[in-house]
Symmetry: D2
Subunit: 451 residues, 4 copies
């Protein structure tokens, strides 16, 4: 309530009690002021009552909630179901404009503020999590893979003749598909074994660049967050190489915000070389529902260029989720979460898991190098460009139960290779076989290895 209404309230209940209430309100306003002034995640988490007060304030700034709203604007922002209106806190204009997903929307000052503040708070968290020199970021209501696609599509306009993306292999389907969907040719660079780890083969990357011609390479597409035995790519060296050859560098940092190691690698890579954008998922990193990602980078104009590639206004739902979550946790709460995650991933448990995983891999020959060879070895694949096939093999029942995960079967795709000779009691495993101009690869998405 404004001061006039507080004054009126003093005539109804005692002035001194109202003044305390008004002071209390100023306390909430003060928190909001800090947020607006600094655009940072508050150190201490807000109470749910402050969060909801703030969201209500934002909602009343949107034209669909203007009182007596009718006439021309009426159709915009009409919501038929009150269940739906309420679950979105009546913020229903979405974010962005047709021209730019990060832009301000004339009819929705509240949703626009939500959008800007979310991006600003998330930027603060990225810094706090280790990428201190990040310059710009925005939340996009798309999966990590689709967000990578948007980055690649943006690069097309900068490098109209390039068609290859150099990609140190990582067996995650959506990373691979992000390049295919963008219409580029992934050039898969196999990793090298060092001890019991799979690491980036820097020499292979460089020779691939030379072979293809730097001007024909859209970008190098590296990965930080992954599961053993694969370790994060050598970002520093890759970033330096990209700078040397003037090739863009996009980093898939899917689950990496919660890993100080991944974040440190990005920070270092940007310091010594070139990283154009790094993309991370919202759900695991920020404990929100699936469906959003953050596209971030060190050059504000490039990040803006990506945000302008999204045609149309977008859902505000992931932004709303992440803003509520970060305001509720506060920087302190988020740091606590990070340190808990660190405990999870660095402790003995993690080591045991890693060992277990690599044993599984070795036992089954799923990963590392043998796989592609085996696939290639079959040699009898149709060499159709970009053909995508899927296959399914079986895992032992026991393994499944141990892992606690139901195995994912691929829908009846054309099974190409896989379990021949293996009994049904073996590892259920989904592979993605793809033939491009340069090679046939068989991506195995191991089912049981994620912690």
């Amino acid at each position: 309530m404004n001061s006039e209404n507080f004054s009126l309230s003093e005539a109804i209940v005692s002035p001194s009690y109202v003044r305390k209430g008004s002071q209390a309100r100023r306390g909430h306003e003060q928190l909001i002021r800090h947020l607006l002034e600094q655009g940072k995640c508050p150190e201490e988490g807000w109470s749910e009552s402050t969060v909801e007060l703030f969201l209500n304030e934002l909602a009343v700034m949107d034209s669909n909630n203007f009182l007596g709203n009718c006439g021309v604007g009426e159709r915009e922002g009409r919501v038929a179901s009150s269940l739906v209106a309420r679950r979105h806190y009546r913020l229903i204009h979405g974010i962005g404009r047709s021209g730019d997903i990060a832009a301000i929307q004339p009819k929705a000052a509240g949703s626009s503020l939500l959008n800007k503040l979310t991006n600003s708070v998330v930027l603060d968290i990225l810094k706090l999590a280790g990428v201190r020199s990040v310059a710009s970021c925005f939340v996009v209501p798309m999966a990590t893979g689709m967000s990578l696609t948007l980055c690649f599509l943006t690069l097309r306009h900068r490098r109209p003749r390039a068609r290859y993306i150099i990609w140190p292999r990582i067996d995650q389907k959506s990373c691979f598909k992000s390049m295919i969907t963008a219409g580029f040719e992934p050039v898969v660079v196999e990793n090298v074994i060092e001890g019991d780890e799979l690491r980036t083969d820097l020499e292979a990357v460089e020779s691939k660049i030379k072979e293809l011609g730097a001007e024909n390479v859209v970008c190098v597409h590296s990965t930080t967050s992954c599961f053993a035995p694969r370790v994060p790519d050598r970002l520093e060296e890759l970033a330096a190489m990209c700078a040397k050859y003037n090739i863009p560098h996009i980093v898939n940092n899917a689950y990496g915000v919660q890993s100080s190691k991944c974040m440190h690698l990005i920070q270092q890579g940007a310091r010594v070389g070139r990283i154009d954008a790094f993309v991370q998922s919202l759900d695991k990193n920020f404990m929100v529902p699936v469906g959003g990602a953050i596209i971030a980078g060190f050059d504000e104009s490039f990040i803006q260029e990506i945000s302008k590639m999204y045609p149309g206004r977008a859902s505000a739902s992931p932004s709303l989720d992440v803003l509520i979550t970060l305001l509720t946790l506060g920087a302190r709460g988020y740091k606590k979460y990070l340190s808990e995650r660190k405990g999870h991933t660095t402790g003995q448990g993690a080591d045991r898991k890693r060992t277990h995983v690599s044993r599984v891999h070795v036992a089954l020959g799923v990963v590392p190098v043998p796989l592609p060879q085996r696939c290639l070895g079959r040699g009898d694949h149709p060499r159709r460009r970009d053909a995508v096939h899927e296959e399914t093999r079986q895992v032992p029942e026991g393994a499944e139960e141990r892992g606690g995960r139901s195995a994912r079967r691929s829908p009846s795709g054309s099974v190409e290779s896989g379990g021949r000779g293996r009994r049904a009691a073996e590892l259920k495993c989904e592979t993605l076989t793809v033939c491009n101009r340069h090679q046939l690869i068989c991506l195995c998405v191991p089912l049981r290895v994620r912690p």
Copy 2:
């Protein structure tokens, strides 16, 4: 948000859009201002977004929502479940103080405002519904019957020696119990038949007053809302009689707010005679969940005296419900509801129902006068003072289905009279037999007659 925060927002999204948002906010504030200034139900209903904005504003004024609240006050207003906190909009201090249910609570300016405004808005609606000279009212989180009990208990302190309540008979259990619970002796005055209606027997009331002595009568307890063949009591004449004999007059107006006839009777009664308080249910009159009532009257000090009889703080839940409902409907919406109800109760359907009901009554001899005689005729009842018994008789299966209501069986009470000679296929009917010093009465609560 305050003006400072709006200014800060202008730096984030465009100043002109923020100004529109800020203007929109003022629109909501303006509605709240009107409410605070005038204490009346707004003519036009508020949007849910204004209602929730307002409730959030009230909540932040309560000390349990003060930021950084800890220490001494911490235990007050602690709520363990967030589901519970949210469903009460974090208004959890209840209403009133130990001294007065209508009083202001030092630690809860917001809940106190809620309480005061609810009572004020409800008062406005009572006027609008026809009792234009009502002076004061308050919402109490108790059923109508228990609220009547509170009125009677208050009168005890004014008339310490009185013990009788004169009550023109109405076959509703809780009305009767309201007097028993208060510890008084109901003196039941049978109604007279006029045409096919049961009306107040004014002469019998007056002779009862004379018989008992006016100073021994706590009050006359009359009823407006009832079902055919019973019609509302002759309030004007009763009120005049109460004035003449200086006897308090309490009106049970349970479902009467929605009836212009009932409200008119009360207004007229107060004009020509004496009505100390009239009590109405919240649920049916205001379409809110069961559990609240309004105690209203024409003398503010007496109503205040009643409010001070409630020992302890009380639930704010019914007040919250009725305030949300009235703000959402607005005076216009409530009037529309009233006129719809009028259509229901005055049309042909009502007539048909009435005829049907009186035919049932006549056929079964349940009501009118025969009943008490019949009960008294048995003569063999223990004459224990205030003994309460219940009996059950059967209704034809068909009748039950026609009515669409499941019959209410009394729990195995001591069956006293009832079904003698009647077959099991007869009317299932619950009666309440009570013997007081003066007479044995058998209240029949007809099951099927409410519309």
Copy 3:
């Protein structure tokens, strides 16, 4: 969903996944089954999703939520505002029937289950908290004081000629008012000083019984939860005395559920003597919003008699709150809360507070015995029966701030005694002066002494 719908779902998504979902559902059903079977608070708290699933299940059993509901029953349970419907989980029939607040409601099987289960779970918690032999209890949507009033009103019907309630003095306004409201005469028995404690004067109680005549005493009204220097009444001895003289015994256990000492006293009192009912607040004991109480006892028929005194159906809101809270906490969570509270009240902090309090009292002569004398000493009070007056004195500003509580001023009542000779800088203190036939007492409700 039922098994048929699960089968249909198998045709849409994979049978094995649906089976897992169906198993998961059975997990929730299993929890509900335990609750229904045993009527006890589950050992482990339920997730919010189980709680809401269960409440939704209850709601669909109520007739207002029957599909295609129209015709006769339509008016019942109509709620105008969807905000209101939702916040009550669409359980809007209230609890009880006009005849009995604990009774089953034919049109609301869901609300009735809610009511029965809440009472059953609360009974379990009372046992768990120390009163192992409690036989029956029910939640009533009224403050503790009003609930005590209901107990006293019930006793009136058992002891029609009795008019006195013997009450070892405790300076809490609503306890005192609970007797006044019920229309009885409180006979205040001053406490005795033992060390720095104020304890029950058993001899004075017994001599009062003899003086008044046991048959004229409605009950002894004792207190467990209180603040230093007052300590809990000697329940064992009082209970034994009540048994000896055949006088009912009602215990005000307002905040005592969280105190193992209070609960132990009640258990012991019932074992060695007579306790007819003990009454406790819901809010502090169960961390729910203000406005409900539990009436409990060792004789099921007496508790039922009380529940039948409430005329009309009552709000389900406090029952809903306490059920949600206890299902969410689980017995384990509630025990944890109890042990935390124990830490608060038994540690050094409590001792320091006590000492401080008694110093304040001694310094100001507010409590103990001097007070009534002083009041009586004034001698000039009108001896009106049951007159209730209030007065206000001042506290030093510093004291107020130290306590962190805003002082409660009485509304401009007729100041009778109090601050004469004291400067404005003294203790702000609210007293309740009452003259009954036997004595004039001046209750001082010390403002700053509650922890």
Copy 4:
């Protein structure tokens, strides 16, 4: 509750009441059964209580809500904020899998059902709205423009060498950007004036196909929903032409579901020729928050191909919104909405608007044909491929107020042409100037012309 729990309930409340509650539950189950069996929008809308019951049922089938869930799967579906969990009804796994946005997710049978049912219900509504032979569709949590992009990207894999999209001009920014973002070259075909309408220039389209070579054309990108003076494209003729030249045909049907004319055009186009996919927005057509679209078509395998292009799991939020809305409205409610919209768009008001719009356009020379000429006439644009520029001109203040819309200013883009020589008092209008290989076009997005 299952039958076992209903039986247990019968022991607590009366069996007959429980049976009624259980029957009532079956009523809800029956509605769910119909939905599961038929996959169609229910004729009558569901009550909110059925909707929420159903959503709760879905949620318990997702593994994040499995009781005692811990260990390996724990990290999946973790949500930090209870506000966030609740607003998504605890359905937080998103939809689809990394391989296919329409696929079933092993760990989330409930979310998968939600996804499948939403797509099925939406398909039913598309049929009901006029496209009776539609074979398949899916909801995608992206704006219409981005969804068009996904369609174009899918076509790239079918037509690897094609690079042009033939596009009858429509002045909507996001349509244009959808092609740019996909990396194709829009070939803009100007419309012809017929009376006061702008209609598709079929000859120009055909000659463009011949000029570019059909094999080099990715698709024809036509539009249905638009504002006067532009009328929907001649879909039948375009579809026939696409069939003749074997060119895919993607229809932008952004707001067309609510227009029987647009839907009829699509149905006819598919009947006589070729339509590969048609894309529509969720918000305006289904009155839900901004951010979702439906991609639909007549060949299930192609629609599936598009759904498999989305890399990663996606937000379930738009699907949830549209499912809630359609279940609440029912087919009847949706048809009522459609007929209201028809009233809006065909009545006199629409005519007046159209006339007004074309007057505005004529007056300012913004649209129709003069524009490109004027832009081209400037001739001095850099011929950079795919360069995108924006400009801003002014509108009279009055016009802005009349329209009730705040004008959208482009963010400080490189202003190329536009307002030179115009006074500030002129029409504020955003244009998008783009130079591709073939022509320079200047898209004017008129601000005030949408109804």
